[in-house]
């Protein structure tokens, strides 16, 4: 029993150390790739695969988030005669929390799974070793473009999710529940600040980076065989999901602290 716990602990610390090294190398390689025009075509390809092809699913996710919020919150607010405040509730929830988080979770499933499966298959068929054997750093060639693609495009995908969330919420509120549109939009405009939208979009850089690095790491370290690749994909999604939630929590605390420092008077009001 103690032996098993000890062996697991050692294995976990080795894995953590390996991930730390991988993270550091990936960040360095990504920064170098930013100033190396030879890698731009690779980044461009990844931006197309990761970003452009994810637009439909992210937009659908955003629209449903807005619509569901409207359906669930209407009764409570209408009971108090505050139905015109529904816009604030929906829009602030969408742009600050639910839009970014659910768009990122959708990306972790769609993009993260594909990255892990692709790199995992390359790993088990010795293609990553082949890259190394030809004197090329696989992290620079395979990981950095994917990290940059995710980091640069996740914020844009979040903007799409936010927009569709706002549209979806407004559609249900105005068309289904017949809320007065001028009241709905004026309360929304007064309640949602540029800061809220910015925080949601900034989160996208961190979520995108986490999804790409975790998924690539799992692909690079996956075990042999179809079962190994399948397991790596599952682990990548679970780890990405947890890291998105953890990062969201940390960023919420940091953003609140910054907001309170910059505009203390607004808090008092």
């Amino acid at each position: 029993m103690i032996e098993t716990i000890g062996a697991k602990s050692i294995e976990m610390s080795f894995d953590l150390g390996r991930f730390g090294r991988f993270l550091w190398k990936s960040l360095l390689a990504s920064l170098r790739s930013c100033i190396n025009p030879r890698t731009y075509p690779l980044v461009w390809d990844q931006m197309h695969i990761i970003g452009v092809r994810s637009v439909p699913v992210v937009m659908i996710t955003g629209a449903f988030v807005g619509m569901i919020l409207a359906v669930e919150a209407y009764d409570q607010l209408a009971g108090m005669g505050l139905e015109e405040h529904l816009g604030v509730l929906i829009n602030i929830s969408v742009v600050k929390e639910l839009g970014p988080v659910l768009a990122a979770v959708m990306l972790a499933g769609r993009v993260g799974g594909a990255l892990t499966a692709e790199l995992g298959t390359m790993n088990v068929t010795e293609q990553i070793d082949a890259v190394k054997s030809m004197g090329t750093d696989p992290i620079r060639y395979l990981v950095a473009p994917r990290v940059l693609g995710c980091v640069l495009l996740t914020p844009f995908l979040i903007i799409y999710a936010d927009l569709m969330g706002v549209v979806g919420g407004a559609f249900v509120s105005l068309e289904e529940f017949g809320i007065n549109s001028s009241g709905y939009w004026s309360f929304s405009a007064s309640g949602v600040e540029f800061w809220d939208v910015s925080i949601g979009v900034i989160k996208g850089f961190f979520f995108g980076g986490a999804i790409a690095i975790i998924s690539c790491y799992k692909g690079f370290t996956c075990r042999e065989g179809a079962e190994g690749v399948g397991r790596a994909c599952t682990e990548a999604f679970v780890a990405s999901f947890i890291s998105i939630l953890a990062l969201n929590f940390a960023l919420a605390i940091i953003s609140k602290a910054i907001y309170n420092t910059l505009w203390p008077i607004k808090i008092m009001l």
Binding site: T121, M122, T125, D129, A130, S133, M134, G135, T136
Partner: protein
């Protein structure tokens, strides 16, 4: 640095050994795969490493290009210790090597031409596209696959994949070519095509070749020197006639393709074919 210079002098004294391995051991967990191996690879010669499956041949060849780092021991290329080099320096050393992987390891998402261009694009600033196309054409004609530039690996047969992988391995005109089981999975005729290609490359480019195989026909045909690995150790080392007449029973058993008495006894003890076809009566189709 001082150590590296000293080794370089030693290597030069040793007479043209391009790769030197000293006391190399490799463990995966508690499993010892290579056990204190020392050997030198002569420049321009074809060295074939043979041995039963799982004896550590592939692990050894991967150490020569430091795709794996040793648990202990040292690897030298042209007298410079390479097993402890950081990745950026190692990448420069690796441009002197070509590696033919067992399954070819061609990049699925790239065409045959793009696969062959890959190492060149990574290390040279290519100003004229026509130069690269010419290089691809030359390398493909060398392996007898001219006209296959636009094919994707999924459309190629096993033998064609290996030939394209060989064309990619020689794209940078390497000084050392490492072959991991080049004839495994191929029919005897395709295997002989690969053997002829290895001989042809030796005459043409004059590189040092190190080949891992358990195909003895291939080994006898192409080897200047044969090394046999068994349970992580070198048990035989010499030319073809030395290996043919080697007194070690495992060497004789391996080169003649005979099952060992112990293994035979286990098989006999496991029953007849009729007995192995037995199914319990309560199994239903």
């Amino acid at each position: 640095m001082i150590e590296n210079n000293k080794s370089k002098q030693d290597s030069e004294k040793e007479g043209g050994e391009i790769i030197v391995v000293k006391n190399l051991s490799k463990k995966f967990g508690s499993n010892v795969v290579l056990d204190n191996i020392s050997l030198g690879i002569e420049k321009g010669k074809t060295t074939v490493i043979i041995g039963p499956s799982g004896c550590g041949k592939t692990v050894l060849i991967k150490h020569l290009i430091v795709l794996l780092r040793p648990s202990s021991g040292e690897v030298y290329y042209k007298g410079v210790r390479i097993d402890n080099l950081p990745d950026d320096k190692l990448n420069k050393v690796r441009t002197n090597f070509g590696f033919l992987f067992q399954g070819g390891a061609l990049f699925d998402s790239l065409s045959v031409a793009e696969n062959i261009k890959f190492p060149v694009k990574q290390h040279y600033k290519v100003t004229e596209r026509s130069g690269l196309d010419e290089l691809v054409k030359t390398k493909l004609s060398l392996v007898g696959l001219e006209g296959y530039q636009d094919y994707y690996p999924a459309k190629l047969s096993g033998g064609q994949k290996k030939r394209v992988a060989l064309a990619r391995a020689i794209a940078l005109n390497p000084e050392v070519i490492l072959y991991d089981e080049p004839t495994t999975g191929l029919d005897p005729i395709r295997s002989d095509v690969i053997n002829e290609l290895i001989l042809k490359l030796r005459q043409g480019l004059g590189p040092t070749s190190i080949i891992v195989t358990h195909d003895m026909t291939s080994a006898y045909k192409i080897a200047d020197r044969i090394i046999m690995l068994y349970e992580g150790k070198i048990i035989a080392d010499g030319d073809a006639s030395h290996i043919r007449n080697h007194p070690h029973p495992v060497v004789q058993q391996f080169i003649n393709g005979r099952i060992g008495e112990d293994d035979l006894a286990v098989l006999r003890a496991s029953g007849t074919i009729f007995q192995t076809q037995y199914l319990p009566r309560d199994f239903e189709k």
